[in-house]
């Protein structure tokens, strides 16, 4: 280890691993500091990557040259494409991973990077000199210099674990110490702190489960890879098991509600509505007859199962009691208790879109420290923070993804401009351009950006170029090829579509419902020709088939941007306009524009903010009956 680095990353979770890797790939000397090098890339909650919207983020991180896609391929023991019954724009790839293999894969990928050093040590403070970051001070008292520091400490800042009514145990994760000094140091630097909570479910011994009373769920038989530039060896596959928590569990939970840390008033912070504890579910939905429970394998070489759906902060004896009411778990043995954890986060409106802390040049935050949940959300921030830390040190332009470029762009923009009032998770409905932000085109959207910033190796660059070229060839073929009614007839008949009356471009055929790209290709080129790869064809098909919809989405957003000449009085109480993003409120209060058009030109004031601004002004004047709706729509 050196005493001076360009970039130091504090924390080795999903955000930290991506930040460190991105910074090193950008070509600057990087150090990753973490209290336990054995747990870099640890999955502290559910051993799974992806899902609806989140799976797209995993693909985006990969397209940017990140770690997550490769590590997932190398450790996944079940794959499913969620939302397959719905449109391809919202498909969500999800992989169950081997909890032990994932960190190993992450570590192996990090070890490939010559510009990255790893060191096992707790960080107690961020050194600030003359208003900008100068380095970090370790628990051992070492001062390490750096041009930029990325803090990715997850739930470790003043973390407290709650199991049942006990007073709460200081910890960053079960069995690991929290970072208290660092939290205090950052607070001293003038940053605002708030508190969130989150929970995990118990784990159980698979040998004590009666699987015959559960429903087996196998993965999808499909050739799918998260990693676009590298073919990892995919391990053997395993099923998950589905069972249901019913009345018995409800009774146990109800009877013990007072003993829950969540309901006993032990925890002050807010938890995610989207990932509720079983106490939450039973209190908030008393009429639901039953709740789905997934028993997910923790790995290939263990019988341990993760009980997805039953996260809790009830006492250990109660956990065992309610587990045993669940079909298949009558004789179950618990291996780890579930717990709730509360932790500090720094409200993210204090950040720029680069994830640099405003007012502290060189200091970057990424991951749960910014109030998000989920490995993918953390990884997405980590990679952006890491890239920007490196660019900062090199004095280059920042790297910012727009809302119509990536879910990562939506995520960061939401964090920075709206702030969070509960742990933030991505949804497709958060993106106004979700038709554009698909899992199948992540490499097309982001690959070239990463390549241009020097984030891809030569080899990765070649893989990208090959893939894009293959897609382009197919795109051009569909645009240029004219199909006669006779050739199209069988395809259209299969699709239940009306016949053509004149020769028509292949792309028009494809736009018809139920007509697939492969069918059109086969019909128009009976001789064969070189057949494009299935994933290439799938990307092109979605791209062409729905381009009309995508264009309409764009037109609408553009129209919103052309704002009216709506006058804004100079003394509007912006602070009270809660339907506006945090940043918009702050900026508007600072700038105090005279018209809506001026307001629209202020960076950080989005079209939605403008809409809501008009509504707020009207509501203030008592002139409208519109109830402004929040961003979630």
């Amino acid at each position: 280890m050196r005493s001076r680095y360009d970039v130091i990353v504090v924390g080795g979770g999903h955000a930290g691993a991506e930040a460190a890797a991105a910074s090193a790939r950008a070509g600057v000397r990087t150090l990753l500091l973490t209290p336990d090098l054995g747990r870099v890339g640890q999955m502290s909650c559910n051993p799974a990557v992806g899902g609806v919207a989140k799976g797209v983020v995993a693909r985006e991180v990969d397209a940017l040259g990140g770690v997550m896609g490769r590590a997932t391929d190398a450790s996944r023991i079940q794959f499913r494409m969620l939302n397959r019954s719905k449109g391809p724009a919202v498909w969500g790839p999800r992989a169950q991973c081997d909890r032990a293999m994932y960190p190993v894969a992450v570590r192996a990928i990090l070890d490939e990077l010559p510009m990255l050093d790893l060191f096992q040590e707790m960080v107690d403070d961020v050194l600030i000199d003359g208003g900008r970051v100068a380095g970090v001070r370790t628990r051992g008292g070492m001062n390490l210099e750096a041009g930029a520091v990325v803090v990715t400490t997850g739930t470790f800042l003043r973390g407290r674990i709650h199991i049942g009514g006990e007073a709460g145990l200081s910890a960053g994760r079960a069995g690991e110490a929290p970072s208290v000094a660092l939290a205090e140091g950052l607070e001293r630097a003038g940053l605002k702190v708030a508190r969130f909570k989150t929970g995990t479910p118990p784990r159980i011994d698979g040998r004590t489960v009666d699987f015959s009373r559960t429903e087996r769920q196998d993965g999808d038989e499909m050739e799918y890879r998260f990693a676009a530039y590298c073919d990892e060896v995919i391990p053997a596959q395993r099923p998950c098991w589905i069972t249901w928590a019913g009345d018995g569990l409800k009774q146990v939970v109800r009877a013990n509600l007072r003993r829950s840390a969540l309901y006993g008033g032990e925890i002050a912070g807010r938890g995610p509505r989207y990932c509720p504890s079983i106490e939450d579910k039973i209190v908030r939905f008393p009429d639901a007859p039953r709740h789905q429970v997934f028993l997910e394998p923790e790995g290939l070489r263990t019988t341990e199962l993760y009980v997805n759906g039953l996260s809790t902060s009830l006492p250990a004896d109660t956990q065992l009691e309610f587990l045993r009411t669940v079909p298949g778990l009558e004789d179950v043995m618990m291996t780890k208790v579930g717990y709730a954890i509360e932790y500090d986060y720094f409200p993210p409106h204090q950040l720029r879109h680069t994830l640099e802390v405003r007012g502290v040049p060189g200091l970057f935050f990424a991951g749960q420290i910014n109030g998000t949940t989920g490995y993918e959300e953390a990884a997405g921030q980590g990679i952006v923070a890491g890239i920007n830390a490196a660019l900062k040190v090199r004095g280059e332009d920042p790297f910012v993804l727009e809302r119509d470029q990536a879910y990562i762009g939506v995520l960061i923009d939401d964090l920075v401009t709206r702030g969070v009032d509960e742990p933030y998770r991505l949804f497709t409905s958060r993106a106004e351009f979700r038709l554009l932000l698909r899992q199948d085109n992540a490499h097309r959207r982001l690959g070239p950006l990463a390549r241009d910033r020097g984030l891809l190796t030569d080899e990765q660059g070649v893989r990208l170029a090959d893939r894009l070229e293959a897609e382009d060839r197919v795109l051009v073929w569909f645009e240029e090829t004219v199909v006669t009614p006779e050739v199209a007839a069988p395809v259209l008949a299969d699709a239940g579509s009306s016949e053509l009356s004149e020769p028509t471009r292949a792309i028009e055929l494809l736009r018809r419902p139920r007509v697939g790209a492969a069918d059109v290709l086969r019909a128009a080129r009976p001789e064969g020709g070189d057949v494009p790869r299935a994933d290439v064809l799938a990307t092109v098909e979605v791209e062409l088939k729905y381009s009309g919809y995508v264009a309409r989405e764009r037109a609408r957003a553009d129209r919103l941007r052309s704002q009216a000449d709506f006058a804004l009085s100079r003394d509007l109480p912006y602070e009270g306009f809660r339907t506006l993003s945090f940043e918009a409120r702050e900026k508007l209060a600072q700038v105090r524009p005279g018209t809506l058009a001026q307001a629209g030109r202020i960076p950080g004031v989005s079209p939605a903010d403008l809409q809501n601004l008009v509504l707020e002004v009207r509501r203030l004047a008592g002139a409208t009956s519109f109830v402004p709706s929040g961003a979630d729509g």
Partner: protein, 459 residues
């Protein structure tokens, strides 16, 4: 383009002889303009209290008038800005002098509709309400007045807001469907979503039912009097107008050009058109008149076809009736006082005829029934709509609702024909935008310009 810095003034009442004229001043300088018009040392009147003051010329101090002044402080005023309302004497001289004094004291002459435009841009009104104010002022019929007052009271705005909120809800159902594939409670089935959207389609469609008639409320429906010379058209025209407007003569073909008058029939606005007598072999002057008549017939919302009761329809009449396209025809048997009770000599029916009645302008027989019938024929949907149903009086509203209806329809179709939910949702967002345009959530400048062009100065 407007900024919020300048102060405007305008005469809000009709120029000319009147006891009182009202001048309005609005903008951040309103109070200072007023104080320049007050005698030196005279304090500004208290807010929202009518105060009698002497108005002086700001330059030479000469007395202009005595006026009742009310001052409003932003934002509690019509425009949402600081405002002053001066009630001075009317007539030819005073208002002009006072307005000129305001100008020298720093106010600029307001553009057409600028007060209401400012009220809109300050959020005091939404766009539909602003338009309603113009209609309330301009209404020439009780029916438009009623529709406009309802709209000014947010009748339309509330309905639109409600529709929009429910479209957003449908979108939220889809979001749930897309974002939570593995939740405990099964996602809302797509047919339920489509059914909701179809309900919204039906409501939008129902709102559109009054659209073409509602627009007539503003302009007046065109009721064209037609029939052979001497059929009694001019007499009926005058009877409906209640005054001698057209020249009534015994000589066939003397009504050479079309006469147009605005008239309220049963509380609804009409433009009554008396055309030249239609005759097989017309002279040159009459030919011109007939040409005019045919043009009006094309624009007619209803045709009042006059036939003397004792004669009935001739072949010539029937040939004419066969040419009428679109507008309903009321066959009016005129001069009922001259006819015996028996059926007329000619035929009394024709396929184009929607309604038939007997009228005499001499005795007044049938005139009341005629008014009612014509009103119901043209404004049946407005009359049939419930009191709470907003009447669409502007093409802008109808156009936006039509877009919303189309998008909702396409959405249902798309969803049912297997277009993925998240794609179909695009149509919901477009429907939302269309609805937002009616009340002007964020509208493009050109829409605003069109809306506010309709206002005259001082409103």
């Amino acid at each position: 383009m407007m900024t919020d810095v300048d102060t405007i003034a305008a005469l809000s009442t009709v120029p000319g002889l009147s006891a009182v004229a009202v001048i309005r001043i609005s903008g951040p300088g309103a109070a200072s303009v007023l104080s320049s018009l007050l005698p030196l040392g005279c304090a500004l009147p208290e807010e929202r209290r009518a105060t009698l003051v002497e108005l002086r010329d700001p330059d030479d101090g000469s007395t202009l008038d005595r006026a009742l002044v009310t001052r409003f402080a932003a934002p509690a005023s019509y425009t949402g800005e600081d405002m002053v309302e001066l009630s001075c004497h009317g007539g030819w001289i005073v208002p002009g002098l006072v307005l000129d004094a305001c100008r020298r004291a720093g106010a600029r002459e307001a553009e057409a509709g600028e007060f209401t435009r400012r009220a809109y841009l300050r959020g005091k009104l939404d766009l539909a309400q602003a338009e309603a104010i113009a209609d309330v002022i301009e209404a020439r019929s009780r029916a438009l007045h009623r529709a406009a007052v309802h709209q000014m009271d947010r009748g339309l705005s509330d309905r639109i807001a409600d529709l929009r909120a429910r479209v957003v809800r449908v979108e939220a159902l889809l979001a749930h469907h897309v974002d939570f594939p593995e939740e405990d409670d099964a996602p809302v089935p797509l047919d339920t979503v489509a059914a909701e959207a179809r309900g919204l389609w039906r409501e939008t469609d129902a709102m559109l039912a009054t659209a073409p008639e509602g627009e007539l409320l503003r302009e007046g429906a065109v009721a064209v009097l037609a029939g052979r010379p001497n059929a009694g058209k001019s007499s009926l025209y005058n009877a409906l107008l209640g005054e001698e407007r057209a020249i009534v003569t015994e000589e066939p073909g003397t009504t050479r050009d079309a006469l147009i008058a605005s008239v309220e029939l049963g509380g609804f606005p009409f433009r009554l058109v008396d055309t030249a007598g239609l005759r097989g072999d017309p002279g040159r002057v009459e030919a011109l008149g007939i040409e005019v008549a045919r043009r009006w017939l094309e624009a007619a919302d209803v045709v009042l076809f006059c036939v003397p009761a004792q004669e009935g329809l001739t072949e010539e009449d029937e040939a004419f009736l066969s040419e009428v396209r679109g507008a309903p025809v009321v066959l009016i048997e005129t001069k009922a006082d001259l006819a015996s009770d028996g059926s007329p000599a000619g035929r009394g029916a024709h396929a184009a005829v929607a309604d038939k009645l007997r009228v005499s302008v001499r005795t007044g027989e049938g005139l009341g029934v005629l008014r009612e019938r014509v009103r119901s024929l043209v404004y049946g949907r407005v009359l049939g709509a419930g009191v709470d149903v907003p009447v669409l009086t502007r093409r802008r509203h109808a156009d936006a609702l039509r877009v919303a209806r189309t998008e909702l329809g396409v959405f249902c179709e798309a969803l049912m024909s297997g277009v993925p939910a998240e794609m179909a949702a695009t149509h919901l967002r477009l429907a939302e935008s269309a609805l937002e345009e009616v009340v002007g959530v964020v509208v493009a400048d050109d829409v605003l310009d069109v809306v506010f062009r309709e206002f005259c100065v001082g409103k």
